[in-house]
């Protein structure tokens, strides 16, 4: 019997703890496949965040570090500066990266720190049970914006990719989505490109991946993907925001 598909060895056999319909699993696979295809397992060190992906160290079959909430880019900086030939990536959610870790991501980017950031944006705090995130859309209902996010009260969502693309430090910044197969394939290319940017020592690279959270959005998985496409993409336009040749 011919093998038509195999799980990459860059993911361990530990069962994922993610909710049904969550797209973290897809994004994990894309990152792992990129590491596999580039042949960099033995050089790669992943930095896990606080949030839903906190257990990423159980899933990525590379050396891993677990960082405090928002601090993954600082941890990655320390790690990369010690061994510049290691390939260091962080895997962070939107609460971790865009709220509590806003300073760390901004300064890692502006330093042109030669690391790769996988930024998973699902517009909500997932692990803690669906609170408002800095990326929550205006009007979006969460457990701490029960009447819908009111920009007059708590401001507007942050477009992190566009914001960081204004800096001179980053070499590659792109925003992708994983709501359908075509976009999943595009996201894979961007993630691979980000790692290639680091391998070529061009500097800071980040891929923002729009992701769904059926559990905390209160939707069925298919419905959540439709909501992502209809509501998140207009707020967070896809595409390459910065690329230094």
């Amino acid at each position: 019997m011919a093998v038509v598909y195999e799980k990459t060895g860059i993911l361990t056999d530990t069962p994922l703890h993610y909710c049904p319909g969550c797209t973290h699993g897809i994004i994990h696979r894309l990152v792992a496949e990129a590491i596999d295809e580039l042949g960099i397992q033995g050089k790669t060190i992943g930095i896990a965040p606080v949030g839903c992906a906190v257990f990423a160290y159980n899933y990525f079959n590379t050396d891993m570090m677990e960082a405090a909430h928002g601090r993954a880019p600082a941890v990655a900086t320390g790690c990369k500066r010690v061994n510049p030939d290691n390939i260091v990536f962080t895997y962070q959610g939107d609460g971790d990266l865009a709220s509590i870790g806003a300073a760390e991501i901004t300064h890692a980017a502006t330093r042109g720190e030669n690391i790769t950031v996988i930024f998973v944006n699902n517009a909500i705090y997932g692990m803690t049970g669906g609170q408002m995130a800095p990326t929550t859309l205006p009007g979006q209902v969460t457990t701490t914006s029960p009447y819908g996010r009111d920009p007059a009260l708590c401001g507007y969502p942050i477009r992190v990719s566009e914001m960081l693309a204004t800096l001179d430090g980053p070499a590659y910044i792109a925003r992708c989505s994983v709501h359908d197969v075509k976009h999943i394939m595009d996201a894979k290319k961007c993630i691979k490109k980000a790692f290639e940017t680091q391998i070529a020592k061009k500097g800071f690279s980040m891929v923002e991946v729009l992701s769904s959270c059926p559990t905390n959005w209160g939707m069925a998985p298919r419905e959540a993907l439709n909501w992502l496409e209809a509501n998140m993409i207009p707020q967070y336009p896809l595409g390459v925001k910065k690329e230094v040749e």
């Binding site: 930095i47 050396d63 320390g78 790690c79």
Partner: protein, 358 residues
């Protein structure tokens, strides 16, 4: 020993760290410790593999330390009281993940922004952990620039030995004061365990376990086991790493307990009291944790009373009372807010005790 040089405490600590193999420094400006990052920023880029980075905050700096320590490097950060408060989150994680590093606190007056003058009011924070969770750190308190150099180098060895951060607790005076100093010829102890746990890149053929630098133990039973493991290390530290200096305690009626800068002033007071015919002695803790309770307990057998002197409203005095265990009176004298006690003030305190027969 090398050549004798005149150095500021802060610069001497930085050079001592480099001599001990520290090649990575992450810091953020705050008075009165700025000469440490400034010195590192000059020296480290000139050394192969060396890296100085000014972080965006103390929070980022301590997390860069976490990353560098996790990658197996000898790494240091320094700050002063408000900045050390900001580092507490990271220090707790570093302890939880069992990473070695050296942290310098040139203590200034508090609370809040406080002052930029010398103080010892971070004693509780330093010796009780400081961040969240059950943990301890080795806390070394130099009272001269020469001792700061020696303790800094020892700190790296102790951190590696126990896979636990080591805190050097100085004060503004130790940091800013210039004294003659000789850099020891540093020799790394041969018995330090190799850092096989470090995250440096792994494949299934690497011949070691996959490195996971982590402080999360979601199963309470596993976390309890982990914390008990940390406390087994602390028990060894308490037995083997306690350091202090005693002067004229054998026949002392009045034993002064003081550390760091305050101990120097207390030493002058003790000598003057002896000239007056009052039998004073001095116990100077060098490790604030583990605290040298044994020599204090021993002195309590014959001393009439103890006087703890601190640049705070009285923090170490609690540990002195625990060591004395009610057998003799333990008095306290302190100045705080950045004010340094004088020799005269300490003499007066002891004279009063002697006069009143306390």
């Amino acid at each position: 020993m090398g050549q004798k040089m005149l150095m500021k405490g802060n610069e001497a600590i930085a050079e001592a760290a480099i001599q001990a193999g520290c090649r990575f420094f992450f810091g953020y400006p705050i008075t009165p410790q700025n000469q440490i990052p400034e010195y590192m920023s000059k020296r480290l880029p000139k050394i192969e593999g060396g890296c100085f980075l000014q972080a965006e905050s103390e929070v980022a700096a301590i997390n860069m330390v976490y990353g560098a320590a996790g990658a197996g490097a000898r790494v240091m950060t320094s700050s002063s009281s408000p900045g050390i408060s900001l580092k507490q989150e990271g220090i707790s994680y570093i302890v939880g993940a069992e990473l070695p590093c050296v942290i310098v606190n040139m203590v200034r007056g508090g609370p809040g922004l406080g002052s930029i003058q010398p103080a010892q009011s971070d004693y509780y924070q330093s010796t009780r952990g400081g961040g969240h969770g059950d943990y301890r750190m080795l806390v070394l308190a130099p009272s001269s620039v020469q001792e700061a150099v020696e303790l800094t180098q020892m700190a790296f060895d102790l951190a590696d030995k126990y896979r636990n951060p080591v805190l050097i607790m100085g004060d503004g005076l130790i940091g800013q004061m210039m004294e003659p100093v000789e850099m020891p010829d540093y020799q790394k102890p041969a018995d330090l365990p190799p850092k096989t746990w470090a995250a440096t890149g792994w494949t299934p053929q690497s011949g070691r376990e996959r490195a996971i630098i982590n402080s999360l133990y979601i199963d309470p039973a596993v976390l309890e086991k982990h914390v008990v493991h940390l406390y087994e290390k602390y028990a060894v530290m308490e037995q083997t790493e306690c350091r202090w200096q005693e002067e004229m305690t054998e026949d002392a009626d009045y034993v002064i307990v003081a550390y760091g800068t305050t101990a120097r002033i207390a030493r002058s007071a003790m000598r003057r009291l002896r000239e007056e015919g009052i039998r004073a002695g001095l116990i100077r803790p060098i490790t604030l944790w583990p605290f040298p309770a044994a020599p204090i307990a021993k002195a309590a057998e014959h001393a009439k009373a103890f006087l703890t002197v601190e640049m705070s409203m009285g923090q170490m005095v609690d540990d002195v009372r625990l060591a004395v265990d009610g057998r003799k009176p333990v008095h306290f004298f302190g100045r705080t807010g950045g004010i340094v006690p004088t020799v005269r003030e300490i003499i007066t305190q002891v004279e009063t005790l002697a006069k009143e027969g306390k």
